[in-house]
């Protein structure tokens, strides 16, 4: 502390130094005094996978990527012998089918130099150019060059020029060996800013560069016919990665397991029903791993080989859990279940869940402040009810006057009701301006304030002023809460009204969630909802 005070009188410059900046200057000086350990600079050898003195054979390659033998064979024959020129390759398939890992492992097996850049981590053209150039020119970002890239490259024209230089020097350095450029996640480039020029440029890169000894490999999640271009481009050679079949999935899930028989018994039971829902490897593995733990729960000794009887017993234990697991996307352990020690909480939850219906848990899984809950309910009401009916719903009698007498509905009104329901399905929740949300919120919470006031009066005999002051101080908090609800995606910004120019909001909570929130507040939501 005293050091900082010494600093600030010393820096009597025209610039006003804040406490923070003077303290950061201080820490910067400290770090400069420490020795900076640099990583070794990059050489041409870094362009190939290092082997760690263990040779990587063809069998290793096949066994590390189960179910991909035909695709590996196809890629190997297309890449061809050493230093054979390559027509651009286009590897495609849906996600988590092993495209990237296959390509990388193939290059590891062939021991050929390559430059890998992913269009997911390089989120625009400039980043992509930077990444490729840094790797080609063997540049590592570190403290000595200020963590900057090797060349400042904004435009594609500069990129091509620098790349030509870099590739020529690399190919010379490698004594004429070929170097491969791998572009991963190419489907994301379609959503970039200047994708109409960048995509054709990437596909024609070998023609544009006119450098011998460069091979291009594109990895994409979408097939080539989804890449739309004005004047088209020359198609690369396609390699298709189909999704894993059930046998392949089984082989993958059997890897690295301590008890193979137990795992195989588990997969016999579980894999088929889950494959009906999805065959993507990442989703299956997140769904199956907690189930496997549950499957192994009744066993005392995990290394035992199960016989038929054990298998039947384990099956009967796991069966009630399979159907609920099929119906949920992922399970996040909520605070309540963790605190309650698991068993009781789970019992309550499983008893309230019915077989095959939609997932509805009685209690909210997350915590929200009371005012935020009221805001959420007001937003829901504002989206569902038409604005013209607000006056009748939220009048001083609390909306009880709205209960129409039930009349026998004629056929025409029933048709109208169906049509309006259909419209409701299609249109979705409506938009509302901020003032309407705040007005509804005021109406709802004023009732609450009154009841609170009555309690207070009963207890302490306080005046009404306290209530008013409390309301005013609540206002600024509410606007903050609206913005936090927006960032949590409970309320989204809809289009703005062309006349007024103010933004309109829309509530995106489902009916179930709104009902749950209202129930936790003991708020009679159904009384306020407009029924046509």
């Amino acid at each position: 502390m005293s050091q900082e005070e010494e600093e600030t009188p010393q820096t009597t410059t025209t610039r006003r130094t804040t406490r923070l900046s003077s303290s950061s200057n201080h820490t910067q000086n400290e770090t400069l005094k420490k020795p900076i350990t640099n990583l070794p600079s990059l050489t041409l050898k870094n362009l190939t996978f290092t082997h760690n003195n263990k040779p990587f054979t063809y069998d290793d390659l096949i066994s590390s990527l189960p179910g991909r033998k035909p695709q590996i064979a196809e890629i190997l024959r297309l890449l061809g012998p050493v230093n054979s020129p390559l027509s651009p390759l286009f590897v495609y398939g849906s996600s988590s089918t092993g495209k990237t890992s296959t390509i990388l492992q193939v290059f590891k097996y062939l021991n050929r130099p390559f430059v890998y850049s992913s269009c997911r981590s390089c989120y625009n053209a400039r980043q992509l150019f930077d990444n490729v150039l840094n790797q080609i020119m063997l540049h590592r970002r570190n403290g000595s060059n200020g963590y900057s890239g090797v060349k400042k490259c904004e435009k594609a024209a500069d990129f091509v020029n620098f790349l030509k230089e870099g590739l020529r020097s690399v190919v010379e350095g490698l004594d004429g060996d070929m170097v491969y450029l791998v572009f991963d996640s190419l489907e994301l480039v379609r959503d970039w800013d200047k994708s109409c020029t960048i995509l054709p440029l990437l596909f024609r890169l070998s023609d544009v560069l006119k450098v011998d000894g460069v091979g291009l490999v594109f990895v994409s999640g979408a097939s080539i016919d989804t890449y739309h271009s004005d004047t088209g481009f020359v198609d690369p050679v396609p390699v298709y990665f189909p999704d894993y079949t059930e046998e392949d999935l089984r082989q993958i899930f059997m890897r690295n397991q301590s008890n193979l028989k137990l795992r195989s018994a588990f997969l016999d039971v579980v894999l088929k029903p889950f494959c009906r829902v999805t065959r993507r490897l990442d989703e299956l593995s997140t769904a199956l791993s907690p189930l496997y733990e549950k499957y192994c729960e009744p066993l005392d000794d995990l290394s035992v080989v199960p016989n038929e009887e054990t298998k039947r017993r384990l099956f009967s234990c796991i069966q009630p859990h399979i159907a609920p697991a099929l119906n949920e996307i992922f399970r996040v352990k909520s605070q309540q279940s963790l605190e309650a020690g698991g068993k009781e909480g789970l019992k309550r939850k499983t008893s309230s869940k019915k077989f095959g219906t939609s997932d509805s848990i009685d209690d909210l899984d997350f915590h929200m402040s009371t005012s935020a809950k009221y805001l959420l309910v007001s937003a829901f009401l504002a989206s569902r009810n038409p604005a013209t009916l607000d006056a009748s719903f939220f009048d001083s009698t609390g909306g009880s006057a709205n209960q129409k007498k039930k009349r026998k509905s004629s056929e025409k009104s029933r048709d109208l009701k169906e049509a309006s329901e259909q419209e409701m399905f299609m249109k979705g929740p409506g938009t509302f301006p901020l003032e309407r949300l705040l007005a509804i919120f005021q109406c709802i919470t004023s009732g609450l304030e009154d009841s609170l006031e009555e309690e207070e009066e009963g207890l302490q005999g306080g005046t009404g002023l306290g209530g008013n002051g409390g309301e005013n101080s609540l206002m600024s908090d509410i606007l903050l809460q609206v913005s936090s609800l927006c960032s949590a995606n409970f309320i989204t910004k809809g289009g703005s009204c062309p006349l007024e120019g103010s933004t309109r909001y829309r509530s995106t909570v489902s009916d179930d969630l709104a009902l749950k929130v209202a129930r936790s507040l003991k708020f009679p939501l159904s009384k306020y909802l407009y029924r046509r």
């Binding site: 061809g80 012998p81 024209a157 544009v208 298709y240």
Partner: protein, 418 residues
């Protein structure tokens, strides 16, 4: 013996692949006749070089028909014939469509040609003044500057300042320049502004996709190994005789016909040959007809059907529901209506595949990723459940996909037909 053969086979494969990936080699086949594009282009450019006049020409044709390749061959030959009289500046519409960028690139290439220092800080005016001066100097020295504008139609977007300044600079007496535009749009000259078009000589060379006989000739030209290379002569003899047999075979002619019926450009044929060459079994080192047949199936892929084969059963259900909604002539439907249809199917047929809404939403998102369905509106205002969607595959494709999917339940097929 077999090792020698394997080495020879590998060398042969590398040689063939090098030939296929080298456009100069391929298009030099068609340059012998006098009315080929090569000779015409060569005549035009060489006459403007020798007669010291300005000229402009457009090379038009579909992608992959050899425009740039023939141009490169012409320029190579002319550089050999008239050294020191030609300098070539190459611009690409994908990279240099912005005027500043283009002029900077022209200045940079001129500097490299004439070994001058290029300053990156020079402004647009400096660079354009430099270009005009250089053109004048080259003209006085009787040196022709050839501008090659690849993707010419992209230069014709916007204000066409670069085109105007280039063509205008050519109008002066002291300059000797040839502007060669290359484009895959056959109406590229219609894109030009009036003032640019008036300065442009309306010469066009049309590059057409090859005829079937040309493809045969090309295949023979590429695949026959040269007898005077480092490969063992008996292997070369065997390989060449095998190739001649295959090329004369009627079945191969059928394969090539099928290929060129869908896409008859050179680039497609070269992709096919590349694939076929990669199928060569390195143990025997010889090509067979099956190599060509497998290459055809690799090139002729049907991505949407492959996708459908990979879909899970829930995804197939969702697509069948969408198709049923379309049949019921609902003009627009969204995820909620699809869910309603899904529930009615399950209520009436009591299937075991009744899953919760969130799981169905996830399967719906998978279908969106695979581009089998798509949002029909452009706004992002609504959440994903309320935006209207449409199927991107025809009912017949869906039917075919259901049949080819191994685990498709019979009820889905029934629902498709009803």
């Amino acid at each position: 013996m077999s090792l020698k053969k394997a080495v020879a086979a590998e060398e042969a494969v590398v040689l063939l692949r090098t030939r296929i990936c080298n456009p100069n080699f391929i298009f030099s086949l068609f340059n012998d006749s006098s009315d080929s594009n090569y000779s015409k282009l060569k005549f035009i450019v060489s006459s403007s070089v020798t007669e010291a006049c300005n000229n402009s020409i457009l090379l038009l044709g579909p992608r992959g028909c050899g425009k740039i390749a023939v141009l490169d061959l012409v320029l190579e030959d002319l550089l050999k014939e008239y050294p020191e009289m030609i300098s070539v500046i190459k611009l690409n519409g994908l990279l240099h469509c912005d005027d500043n960028c283009a002029i900077k690139e022209i200045a940079r290439q001129l500097c490299i040609e004439h070994e001058l220092m290029f300053s990156k800080m020079a402004s647009f005016d400096d660079n354009s003044q430099f270009m005009i001066d250089m053109l004048r100097e080259c003209g006085l020295a009787h040196k022709t500057v050839i501008f090659v504008l690849d993707e010419f139609d992209l230069f014709a977007q916007g204000k066409q300042r670069l085109l105007y300044s280039l063509l205008d600079a050519m109008q002066s007496v002291s300059s000797q320049a040839v502007v060669i535009g290359v484009s895959c749009r056959l109406d590229a000259d219609q894109l030009l502004e009036k003032r640019v078009r008036s300065r442009f000589s309306h010469r066009k060379l049309l590059f057409l996709p090859p005829q079937k006989e040309d493809l045969q000739r090309l295949a023979k030209y590429i695949l026959l190994l040269p007898t005077d290379s480092s490969l063992p002569p008996d292997y070369v003899l065997e390989f060449n005789s095998r190739i001649s047999n295959i090329l004369a075979d009627k079945r191969l002619i059928e394969v090539i016909d099928k290929l060129s019926d869908s896409d008859s450009t050179f680039s497609n044929f070269l992709r096919f040959l590349f694939s076929a060459v990669s199928y060569i079994d390195l143990k025997t080192g010889l090509m067979t007809l099956d190599n060509f047949k497998s290459a055809l199936s690799t090139i002729h892929r049907q991505p949407k059907l492959d996708c459908l084969k990979d879909c899970s059963i829930l995804e197939l259900y969702i697509m069948v529901c969408m198709k049923r909604l379309e049949v019921k002539e609902q003009e627009s439907y969204n995820f909620n209506s699809v869910m309603k249809e899904y529930k009615t199917i399950h209520d009436s047929f009591q299937t075991s595949d009744n899953y919760s809404r969130s799981v169905c939403l996830r399967a719906f998102e998978h279908l969106l990723e695979r581009q089998l369905i798509e949002f029909a509106d452009r706004g992002h205002n609504q959440s994903i459940e309320f935006r209207s969607v449409k199927l991107l595959i025809a009912p017949s494709e869906l039917h075919q996909g259901l049949k080819s999917n191994r685990s498709c339940p019979a009820i889905l097929q029934k629902l498709m037909e009803s």
